[in-house]
């Protein structure tokens, strides 16, 4: 299966959307995130995880992450399903962490999602191709 997603190649970030699903798949939340090939993990806001019924506060798993401003420990939750760029992944771990408000996005789409596919970013055409 191959998907092709357009993005704004003139922007200074690659903005895409991810859809997060709750345990029984009765609720979904779609949010704007940055596609970040330099990020190990996908990051979503703490409030959105809680709203979908996940519980980052009681998660026993904490991931150490190196950011541009230092080292942080973030709770890990396992989402029932996450969909982005036309592809869905079941039971995927994400980190719960709030990005700065001025960043205009709500999270990061990182390598733990992207590495499940072959992908190609074509800036000349403003497209992202995912191949499963």
């Amino acid at each position: 299966m191959t998907t092709l997603t357009k993005f704004d190649a003139s922007a200074n970030i690659i903005l895409v959307n991810v859809e997060l699903t709750n345990f029984d798949e009765s609720e979904t939340t779609l949010l704007p995130v940055v596609l970040d090939t330099g990020a190990t993990f996908t990051i979503i806001p703490w409030d959105i995880a809680v709203d979908l019924g996940y519980d980052p506060a009681s998660s026993e798993r904490r991931q150490r992450i190196f950011t541009g401003s230092g080292v942080e420990f973030c709770p890990v939750v396992t989402l029932k399903k996450m969909t982005s760029l036309g592809m869905a992944v079941q039971d995927i771990d994400v980190l719960c962490h709030d990005l700065p408000e001025g960043s205009c996005v709500d999270g990061l789409l990182g390598l733990n999602f992207l590495r499940m596919f072959d992908f190609e970013i074509k800036y000349s055409q403003g497209t992202i191709q995912l191949i499963s």
């Binding site: 998907t3 709203d51 036309g86 205009c104």
Partner: protein, 75 residues
């Protein structure tokens, strides 16, 4: 009163540089939201997050502005 669905493009034009909470959304194959019902908008992302629990089903958060060209991003 039940709100009507609008295109996300037109909602973004009405409320520029704001965070939007849209319910009952529909997307294209790439997960780009195409239409839905605007239920809340604010300059504050945190305020939009606080409203999430008041709605159920399909909820979509969007930002109607763009990152300024003079701002660099490194997460």
């Amino acid at each position: 009163m039940d709100k009507k669905k609008e295109s996300v493009e037109s909602i973004k034009k009405k409320y520029k540089d704001e965070w939007l909470l849209i319910t009952d959304y529909e997307t294209d194959k790439s997960m780009v939201p195409r239409n839905g019902k605007l239920v809340f908008h604010s300059k504050s992302r945190e305020e939009v997050h606080k409203k999430l629990s008041q709605y159920s089903g399909k909820k979509c958060i969007q930002y109607s502005g763009k990152l300024s060209k003079d701002i660099g991003v490194m997460f």
